[in-house]
Each structure stands twice: as C-alpha cells, then as structure tokens.
Amino acid sequence: MKPKNQRLVLVAAAIAAVLAAVLLAMWGLKDRAAYFYTPADVAAGRAAEGKAMRLGGMVEKGSVRREADGVSVRFVVADGDARTLVAYRGIVPDLFREGSGVVAEGRMSRGTFIADTILAKHDERYMPPQLGNQAAEHQAAKTLRR
C-alpha cells in the first residue's frame, strides 16, 4: 500500500469506528436506560409495566411490613401526591428508615414495584442527586421553624 493511501484508509477506519460506537450506543440506549420516576409519575401511568426503572421518594411512616420469611419487606414510597407499594427481598441498606429518602431499582408489576436493589441516602453528604431537592426543602422547613 502506498503511504498516501494508507493514511486515507486509516482515517476512514477511525471515522468508521467512531460512527460504529455512536450507532451501537444509540441502539443500546434506546431500550436499556432506566428512567427515574416518582410515585406521581407511576400514578400518571408513565412507568411501563416490566421495564427497568428507578423509583424515588420518601418511605411512608408506619408502612414498612416484614414478611414471614424474615427477608422480604413491603413498604410504601410516597412523594406527597401519590403512593406506590414496593416489594423487596434482601437486606435493606443501613440508612433505610421510615420517613427518609429512598431510591429503588426494579420494575412495576401489577401495581407493585418489585425492587432488585435499594439505595438509601448514605449520610447528609452522600446523597443521590434525585433526592437533593427534597432534602433541601426539608432543610428549609427546619430553618423556618427555628
């Protein structure tokens, strides 16, 4: 191969690689990205049945029920407008508490959110950004009371 042609072929190959990456990524992202919904979104029917998603909100006070097997829990996630029932089998994270924020990964199944993973707020400095606003409002309310 002549050096000039070689350079052309290399440039073409590089462009093809970048294009391939973009196309593959677009194809992959189309149905594999998990959207973040609140209970209000779920109530409005935006969360498709069976599709991977994240659900975020506050664990409703007094709603956590342990099942007889000792490792399954059911609780309600609320955002002030709506409530969603969540079922989870596993060890809940350390900072999972009634009345505090939670983000769960999983899917909707017949009106119940089946969670695979529960991410709770870690401490005030390590917080899922999705919960940032809620926490800020909470903080503002506390300051006003003072």
Partner: protein, 647 residues
C-alpha cells in the same frame, strides 16, 4: 503556620508554572535559549507541590481542627492511618494530590528525557506547565485545601466509614498516578506537534510513561474492584457505576495508546494516530476527574455538591481538550508519512486492536454521559447500568480478546508465513470448552459461555509468541506481553465463571440453624458484640462445612458514631476453588437474623488476572529500562564491554 506554608508553596508553584509559558514560547521562537531554565522551573515546581502536600499530610496527622478541611473530614478518635489516608479522602485533598502528581511528572520529564530533542522537550514541558496552571487556579480559587476555620470546632465531623479501609490508603494514589501519568503522554504529543518532530524518538520517549501509567491504572482499577466487592457487601465486583467508568475510560484509551505507541517506537508508523490517542487518553483522565470531582454524580467518591467547581472543571476541560485538538487539526497535515505496512501484518492487527478499543471506549463514554445529556436537555432523570454496558460492550470485548490470540503471532510490515496453523491447538481448546459448556451447563447465558470459550483459547495462545525462541534471549518486554495477554484470559475466565455459576442464598435464621449454598452447609453458631477503635459491632459466627474441613466466618454489622453510620462487613473465605462470601443483616424481631451467602467459584481469577496484566506491563517496563541503561553504558566512551548478540 503549617497550613499557611503549604498555601504559600502552592502559590509559588502556580507562579512558576505561569513563568514557564513565556519561557517556552521564547525558546521555541529562538529569542533566547531557555531550555535549562524551563527544566529547572519544572523541577522546582514539582518540589513545591510536594512540600504543599507534605504540609497537608502534617495538618491531618496532627488533627489541626482550625483547618476547615480537617474539621469537616477528620476526627481526633480516628486510627492514625486513616487520619493520613483522610488527606486524600476528600475533594480538596485529592485535587492537591492530583496536582502534585502532575507537577512531579513534569519534574521527572525534565530530569529524565535526555534522548529527546531539546526543542520537543521544552515544548512538552511548556504544555505540562500550562496543564498545571489551570489546576493550580482550580485549587487556589475554587477548592483551597488550607482554608482556616475561625473559631476552630472542638471536634471534627469524621470520615465516611466506608472510606475507613486499608484499600483507601492505596487505591486513590495509585489511580491518580495512572491518570496523571498520562498527562506526560499528552504533553509530549502537544510538544511534538508544535515542533513537528513526530517520529520514532517521540514514540520511545512516550512509551515508558504510557506503560507506567497503564500499569498503575490497571492496579488501581483491580484494587478498586476488589474494594467494592468486599466493602459494599453486595457480592458484585463491577457495577458500571459512572465513577468506575471514569477510571475505565482512561484505561481503555491508555491500552489503545500503549499498543499504538509500540508501533510508532518500533516501526515509525501510525504517527498522527498515536498523537491523537495520547491526547484522547489524558482527555479521558480529565473527563474522569470532572465526572468524579464536579459533584454531578453521586457515590462514595463524590465528596461535595458545589456547582461552581463543576463549571470551573468543565471550563478547564474544554480549554485543554479544545486547544489540543485544534493543534492536532492544524499540524496533522504537515506530519511526515508513516512507514508503510501490508494489510496482513502486526501493524494492521494493532490498528484493529485500537479500533475495537476505541469503539468500546465510545460505548462506555456515551453510556456514562447519556443520563447527564438527557437531564440537561429534557430534565428527565434516568440511569444507565449493566443491561446496556454488558450487552453492547461485552461482545466487542470478547471479540477483541479473541483477536489478542492472533495479533502477536504476525510479523511486522508484512506477514508471509502461514500463521493460522500455529493457532490449531488454542482453537481446538476453545472449541472443546464451548462443547463441554453446552453439555455440562446448558442453562448459562451466551456471554459467559463465549467468555469461557475465548479464555480457554487465549490462555494457551498468549504463550505462542515465545515458542521456538530462546527463553533467555527473548526480551523481557515479550515475556511481559505474553503474561499480560494470559492475564486477560485469566480475568475473563473469572468473570465468566462468576456470572455463570454463582450460587446465592438469602434467609432469616435462628442461631443453630443451617443454610446450604452451592456445595456448602453454613450454620449460624451465634452472635456476639465486638468493638473496634471507633466502632461497635454485632458479629455473627458462621461454621461452614463442605465434606471434610470446617471454616469459621465472622461477618459484622458495624456502627460508627462519627458520623453515625452502619456498615456491613462481609466475611469472605478464599480457597482454591472460589470464595464463600457471607453478610449478616438485621434481626427480624423474632430471634432470627438475616444471612446472605454467596458461593462464587473461581471469582478470584478476576483480580488475579488484573494483577497478571499489571505484572506483564511491569516486566515490559523493567525490560525497556534495563535496555536503556545498557545502551547508555555502551554509548559512553572507554567502556566497551558489551557482548555481541544481546542487543
């Protein structure tokens, strides 16, 4: 006083990096000979940042609570080692570490590169100084680690317990050395493009830096993966978390660069290509730093949410990447043509390697940034996780691993021998693995199945380049390559067996009851309190048996008081055939305790493979260094004791 001395050293270093710019321009324009001054300035800058970092270490060691950073991130009751490690367990401290490594790399470049042309070296040092300047500004104006707090609080706020782990002492510095080691490749590429000397010499100057940075990145990622595995207690070793991806992207780019810089150094081909990759590699380091340090992502790695810092970092990223790529666009047409090669040759194989790595990098890049784009454009929040990355990047990674078996067997420039005959045995092994897995484990997914297939073939094929060579005369670099490629096979085997054959058990049991997981019977003996330097814990005693032999495991739930946090400490038993991974959860109020058990056959191969890859890189680095030393000795007059045939 200590904090003020550190701050002063930092300001001085920044002033020196500013001084470096006119000196470099003057030298390159031929107004004066600034080479020696530029080199001394770079060395002085390295010394000053080292001093600044030492001051910060001292402040943390003494728990000086009048320094804001110490007050918010440390605590007088913390074990001493974590007080020290806490220095870089926060935003400001870790950025200072970053800048220190950047300046030290510049100093080392100024001391060590004798074989590079004077002009290119000065230009590269100027580029390194320009990089440092931006990050000094970031430290001094947006994240001053030495800021005082008045009045000083009586006690500090403590360090996130997840970060109180021996892994933290080494994981960030290793990764940072890797990230920032790539800055030298970036600066050398900028320097070479400025002077137009893109040739084999620049390839040879760049290679040890790329190799060293790549070894450290490999180690850092491997260690980080193991840390997440045992510390988070989720039984997984890679979560495709954006922060993990932030370290994976520079690694992918560095891996591509490592292979193309070899072509440039050995053959003088792929000139513009290698310069481009060198720029991309460090750009990925900066993207990673931006993702982790700007606070737009959340994990244990993101320490603070402060939008002004994110904007500052984004501006720096835009300026450096934009300037570098503009320079590339201006100069690439003027570069000399690279040495030609045929379609079937080692050069072509390495081009294919580069292309596949680039595609994988692109996929990881888009997947990681997609949630940010979508949120910025439409306000909708989403996350991209394993389903995307595994399905889209996984098959390409396997294809690449399969080609790793072939590439090293090809000869430079033009292949004339029949190579595929040599691959008969590996191909046969791979086919056997595929057939056996189809019969013995028909239920496993196709990705782990092909993973096992490729691993079986590559494990043998990686050693083929050494066949029929004299093992003592084979360069260490070739041994290193074979070992690193073997490490890839080992790591893939571990990933495949882990995802195909892991057994999991989750249940609530009373003391005295037994659970089975895989071949193991695990009995909960009892629970007892335990106490550490700054935590208390509930410790479960588990008795695990498999046929003969007994193992005792003691997983804990720990309670930290500053800040108040609970963590699960997994207890892991490692043996030849795999790991038994146990976590104790919460009591259910009726005398039962939650237990989560995993039996993970051959999972340790993942990190063993990572270690072998790094070791291979280290061997290659040692071999090259040894050769350079010998060449140096030989070139000195009066010392002609070189033996023939060993060149």
């Amino acid at each position: 006083m200590i904090a003020e001395a550190g701050l002063a050293a930092l300001w001085l270093a920044a002033a020196l990096s500013l001084l470096q710019l006119p000196l470099t321009v003057g030298h390159l324009r031929g107004w004066f000979d600034g080479a020696r001054t530029v080199r001394s300035v770079a060395i002085a800058q390295g010394g000053l940042t080292l001093a600044a970092f030492a001051m910060l270490l001292l402040v943390f060691a003494r728990t000086d609570l009048s320094v804001a950073l110490v007050a918010t991130n440390s605590h007088s009751a913390k074990p001493f080692i974590y007080k020290l490690a806490g220095t870089w367990g926060n935003h400001e401290g870790s950025m200072l570490l970053w800048v220190m490594v950047l300046a030290l790399a510049g100093a080392l470049l100024a001391i060590g590169s004798r074989r590079l042309s004077q002009h290119t070296l000065v230009a590269a040092l100027g580029a390194q100084g320009a990089l440092a300047l931006g990050f000094y500004a970031f430290l001094l104006f947006a994240s001053n680690p030495f800021a005082r707090l008045d009045p000083a609080p009586l006690e500090g706020r403590g360090l996130n317990p997840l970060l109180q782990d021996p892994g933290l002492a080494f994981h960030p510095p290793t990764l940072y050395l890797g990230y920032v080691g790539l800055s030298v490749a970036f600066s050398l590429a900028v320097g070479a493009l400025l002077t137009g000397d893109v040739d084999r010499a620049i390839g040879r100057a760049m290679r040890p830096w790329v190799l060293g940075a790549w070894v450290l990145l490999t180690l850092g990622i491997t260690a980080g993966s193991y840390w997440a595995y045992y510390e988070l207690g989720w039984g997984g070793w890679w979560f495709w978390d954006p922060v993990e991806n932030a370290s994976l992207m520079p690694w992918l780019a560095a891996t591509a660069l490592l292979h193309s810089v070899t072509v440039l150094a050995a053959r003088g081909a792929l000139r513009a290509w290698t310069m481009m990759l060198a720029m991309i590699a460090f750009s990925m380091s900066m993207v990673g730093t931006f993702l982790v340090r700007s606070g737009i992502l959340t994990s244990v790695h993101t320490f603070a949410i402060d939008p002004s810092r994110g904007t500052f970092l984004l501006a720096l990223l835009g300026i450096y990447v934009g300037a570098a790529f503009a320079l590339f666009a201006l100069r690439t047409g003027k570069l000399k043509e690279g040495a030609p090669f045929e379609l079937v040759s080692r050069e072509s194989a390495l081009v294919v390697n580069n292309l596949l790595l680039t595609v994988i990098l692109g996929i990881v890049f888009f997947g990681t940034l997609y949630p940010l784009f979508v949120e910025a454009l439409s306000g909708e929040k989403l996350s991209v996780g394993p389903p995307y990355f595994n399905a889209v990047a996984g098959p390409l990674a396997l294809l690449l691993a399969a080609l790793v078996a072939v590439g090293p067997l090809l000869s430079w420039r033009r292949e004339t021998r029949p190579v595929f005959k040599k691959l008969a045995i590996p191909a046969l092994l791979a086919a056997t693995a595929l057939v056996v897995s189809l019969f013995a484990a028909p239920q496993i997914g196709w990705l782990p199945r092909f993973g096992l297939t490729v691993a079986a073939g590559l494990a043998v094929a990686s050693w083929l380049p050494l066949i029929r060579t004299n093992p003592l005369r084979t360069p260490l670099a070739t041994w290193g390559m074979a070992l690193a490629h073997f490490g890839v096979a080992v790591a893939i085997a571990g990933m495949a067996t882990d995802s195909a054959f892991t057994r999991e058990r989750l249940a609530a049991v009373r003391p005295g009851e037994t659970l089975s997981v895989g071949p193991w019977l695990v009995r909960l003996q009892g629970l007892a309190p335990a106490i550490g330097p700054n935590w208390t814990a509930i410790e479960a005693e588990l008795r695990a048996t498999r046929g003969v032999g007994v193992l005792i495991l003691k997983p804990q739930t720990r309670f930290f008081t500053d800040p108040p946090t609970e963590t699960n400490e997994a207890a892991i038993a490692t043996m030849f055939g795999g790991q038994l991974y146990t976590v104790v959860g919460k009591p259910d109020g009726e005398g039962r305790w939650q237990l989560r058990l995993w039996w993970k056959p051959f999972v340790t191969l993942i990190w063993l493979g990572g270690g072998l890859i790094a070791l291979g890189g280290l061997l290659a680095l040692a071999g090259r260094a040894w050769r350079a030393v010998r060449r140096e000795r030989r070139s000195r007059p009066g010392q002609s004791w070189t033996r023939k045939g060993y060149s």
